[in-house]
Amino acid sequence: MTERRLIPRFAGLFFLVAFLLVVLLVVTPLTLAAQSPSQQEAQPDAQQGGQAAQSQRIAALEQRAADAKSSADNAWMLTSAALVLMMTGPGLALFYGGLVRKKNVLGTMMQSFAMMAVITVLWAIVGYSLAFGAGNSVIGGIHNALLRGVGLQPDADYAATIPLETFMVYQLMFAIITPALITGAFAERMKFRAMLLFLILWSLFVYDPMAHMVWGKGGLLNASLGGRFPTLDFAGGTVVHVTSGVSALVCALYLGKRLGYPKMAMPPHSVVLSFIGACLLWVGWFGFNAGSALAAGGLATSAFVATHFGAAAAAIGWSGAEWLRNGKPSVLGAVSGAVAGLVAITPAAGFVSPMSALAIGLIAGAFCFWMVAKVKARFGYDDSLDAFGVHGAGGTIGALLTGIFASSAINPIFKDPSGNTGPSGLLEGNAHQLLNQCVGVAIAWVLAIVGTLVLLLIVDKVVGLRVSEDEEMQGLDLSQHGEEGYYWETPA
């Protein structure tokens, strides 16, 4: 692919300076505005004697009970946030790192790690505000830029018992892992600075709108806050997996195949690393799904169990399909199956029963195996680490199965004007919801395809996307980072 660069080779310095200038220009006026109020003081202890004193004591006790619940919820949410971050680093970093050739292991891991650093800053400056600030049905606004108004006070629209700041940092971890997932599609051939620019823009123009539509105030697809097309997406099947997975496919098609693909054998250099990464993903996913209950109560339990069951059944589904097709169940297949199940159960986690979770997992495991083993080979695209096959496909089928298996007995999400609970999914009698799921999925697909294409074109023109042939042969570790992952050959 010919390079059409407008930015000369001082690109790194250029971006750093541009970034700092933007931060400075944004920080100066906004920090001159008033700060948001801090946490309220606790109620003073009630005094002795009298009817009024009695009701004061009850009020104080109620406050203490509420505080206890808040403490429990906040403890779980902070833990969940940590678990989700662990999914990116080292979970995804190891999972992807093990799948590439030795000469690209560091470059691949660096892509995930870079998201941990860069998306955090972006989120703080403007990302959170665009995703979760008040705005319109498609995007938030800049009212919460620089986290203005995001303090220790809860926001009842999002989570009434935890500080908004906890909610913000929890959501940040999702914003981090989503672009990191896409890196699987262009593994082993994308320039580091191109990846940075592309994923920063992607986070702003694809992730933030999608997150806003499904989870933000006034969002078009928000099932809890009265969106026009309420899409049941408990923990981000559409927001995280469909968007990243479909974007991954677009990237794989745009960037083209790796040199030598598919003739040259490019087996994973360390299935061991991928195994460790996948297991960390499984454990971390409890934070991803059960944490999306935004509280430590029964719904978190439901989501936790559904998540686990989905992963287990999918591992069996994929392994079973592989055993039948290839005669042996591979370890990489088994762990990939578990990941596929986790992806598929993500939109469903807080809406389905444990048995439904088993069914969803089993279906997703077999389906994603077919996508990766058959469909990819038939169409010949080089989705190097199967970001589309697992996340795009798994997220899509999971979102659709959610419309089938969602049960109001698990989560009474739909209530009529008089407060009576209505059916959630198809099996419960709500066939219409499947249509809404389709709308949500379709919007995710369209946003991902259009957004990614436009951004790829821009970044290609400005920086150039793909490394040169020499750099690709040399490997990303040396060409992009000047490092080697394993320095074993040199004697002491």
């Binding site: 994973p268 990766v372 083993a373």
Partner: protein
């Protein structure tokens, strides 16, 4: 002086080493190599893609010996390394012009 290069199955290294020590061989170099003769490789599956691995791991032993030791060492290697199946390996013999001991400049057979 003759250089003896023996390519053998990885599982036979210990047996061959012991057999060589028993006949009094004192120096050898062992390398981990990959290769194939008529032995076929195997297929592996990663994410549904089939890979043919046709370079098989082997062990290569290199020794430079005085001419009167060569035939004894060849017999020792063959007896220790043979299984009778394809993949047992091969031995090559080549003439060596000279050998030098780095420690004290000794040359010829006394350097071996």
């Amino acid at each position: 002086m003759t250089k003896v290069e023996a390519i053998i199955q990885t599982s036979k290294l210990d047996a061959v080493k012991e057999a060589l020590h028993e006949i009094g061989i004192e120096g050898m170099t062992v390398l981990e190599v990959r290769g194939h003769g008529r032995q076929k490789g195997h297929t592996e599956f990663y994410r549904g893609r089939e890979y043919t691995v046709d370079l098989i791991p082997k062990i290569k032993i290199e020794m430079v010996l005085a001419d009167d030791m060569v035939e004894k060492s060849v017999q020792a290697i063959v007896n220790a390394a043979r299984t009778g199946k394809i993949g047992d390996g091969k031995i090559f013999l080549t003439r060596v012009d000279d050998a030098i001991r780095i420690r004290n400049d000794e040359r010829g057979e006394s350097a071996l």
